[in-house]
Symmetry: C2
Subunit: 335 residues, 2 copies
């Protein structure tokens, strides 16, 4: 990892710790611990593996730097976005009934659902506080613009989450709805990173739009790629057991495409839960019906759109180079 | 109800509907319905009984008006506070496993916990958006100040919620911790109403501090009064079955006082769950040990402090009069 990215990651961790310290008082010590556990700093398995990759705050800082601005003053916004991401993960794990996150027990699994709901709410509150820490370093109008962008994104996140949960119950989900769902659930926050980074980096409206579009397409492409890995990926690459989407009955893009084909895949899918031993055969059947090719083509097109948007944004200097690298690493799931 | 309060309530409802409309799109119609149900506008039992009393937004507008300012431009802040209150109620109902709220089934009881967590998150996001709608009508610095006050309050709320939940597991809760808990859980948001109302009403720092203190003491006094009703109140007054705090094992102020006395009450309390038929006898025992008198004295003192703070704030005109009336009604639980 190069020096700029390493400097950014160190500074992000420091800023996150500063933000989380708002809760560090004698009467809330066990509460503060739940937060620092989730953020990867304390408890069993603490360390770089447990913090996650901090992709969103790094992206935010890179966009600002690629506009030719100093990235340090942007840190409160980067931290705010990472806190929003983590609030959504804590609530997501309850909603999905997930026991593990980044190789460790989830917050609700350790402290129970009521406490975990509150931990998520706290991370959300801290994100709202963090974004306003931009005041002083930036004109008040820009602070309000950045905060509004963040809050609008949070509404998109909850809308995406609603659609995702409602898909579980439904048998009539259309491909068009899938795209709307991941626009909210995945693309909105990446788009927010780029939009806020560009705003605070001093980009004009056209460049900011291009950065925003870059984040949007990056998010969609990433999700389509992730959906492929969820069926045809191997465990080493994804960190979770391969083909789990088939077993979990998750309505991902290849599966919705397969259902639309109305063939052997659909017939088996509708017959009831898929067992682990059926996965290789069913994944191969889904590929024969064109779902792998369709999803890969969508991912490639979206990647191309992300790259075009980035060229339009014309990122500068070393940060610009790293931005391109980060994007291609992200899309190949190497970072 | 007089004209000013009626005008405010009508305008608050309209502003809340405007804020909630952010989610009103074809793909999220069933989701929007969960929100409008909780806010009391749709579904079984919809109407004034289901909306709640909108005490917090009314208090916000009254404080601004009592500073001599127009209250209409303050509406987005009033709506933001009411949305925060409602977000906390939706999550609270899950955390407390409560089936009913304002005489209707709770959101999680109808749509399940995962959806209800998301409904709370959405109301929270909308609150954050609403407060920024002050921009344009107020200087950007004041908008940031108001938003920061709201977000700091949300962190206090989550800290109070943590303490409240941790009390359930603990047998060593001290009276001092009780006051800290209700400062976060009840007083912080009422204090926030008054602080933001005064800020936007153009109060100077000293007056704003007085308004903030008024809300703080009002919240503490209200909670102490509520704790009395939770043991010695009757169902008609509280809307819930009397003495439920004894049955629910809730560590309210009179109960913590009783446990400190180390007498017959404590002995019975520690022996296991209290049955409904034991309530009259145990409530009388708790009163004999001085818990009713202690709590009533605390409530009276806090009420006096609230009234003193309000006098210091020197509220003006009709709004000032209504502010005093609202406070005394609230403390006698008549409104």
């Amino acid at each position: 990892m190069n020096d700029l990215i390493q400097d950014m990651r160190t500074a992000i961790e420091k800023e996150l710790q500063k933000q989380a310290a708002r809760l560090d008082s004698p009467h809330s010590a066990p509460f503060h611990e739940m937060l620092t556990y989730h953020l990867g700093w304390t408890g069993t398995g603490a360390g770089p593996q447990a913090t996650g990759k901090r992709i969103r705050p790094t992206l935010t800082l890179l966009c600002a730097a690629a506009c030719g601005a100093d990235w340090e003053p942007v840190l409160p916004a980067a931290a705010a976005i990472e806190l929003v991401h983590n609030f959504s993960l804590v609530h997501d794990d309850i909603q999905d009934n997930s026991d593990m996150r980044r190789g460790r027990l989830t917050v609700w699994k350790i402290w129970g659902q009521p406490m975990a709901i509150n931990v998520g709410d706290t991370l959300f509150s801290m994100a709202n506080q963090a974004i306003l820490d931009l005041a002083g370093a930036f004109p008040a109008d820009h602070v309000i613009d950045a905060a509004r962008t963040l809050h609008d994104t949070c509404l998109e996140l909850t809308r995406g989450q609603f659609m995702d949960m409602s898909f579980e119950e439904r048998t009539d989900v259309r491909l068009e709805e899938y795209w709307l769902m991941i626009t909210g659930k995945t693309a909105a926050l990446l788009s927010c990173c780029c939009s806020i980074g560009a705003l605070l980096g001093g980009a004009d409206e056209a460049a900011r739009d291009a950065y925003r579009a870059f984040g949007h397409y990056l998010g969609l492409a990433f999700q389509a790629q992730d959906d492929i890995l969820g069926i045809w990926g191997d465990e080493a690459q994804t960190g979770k057991s391969a083909a789990s989407d088939l077993v979990e009955g998750k309505k991902s893009l290849p599966i919705l495409y397969g259902l639309k084909q109305d063939g052997a895949f659909k017939k088996r899918w509708q017959a009831g839960p898929v067992k682990a031993e059926e996965v290789p055969g069913l994944a191969a059947q889904l590929a024969r019906e064109g779902a792998h090719e369709y999803t890969q083509k969508a991912a490639d097109q979206l990647t191309e759109q992300a790259q075009q948007s980035l060229r339009l944004a014309a990122p500068q200097g070393a940060a610009g180079d790293y931005l391109e690298k980060l994007a291609s690493k992200l899309l190949r799931r190497e970072t």
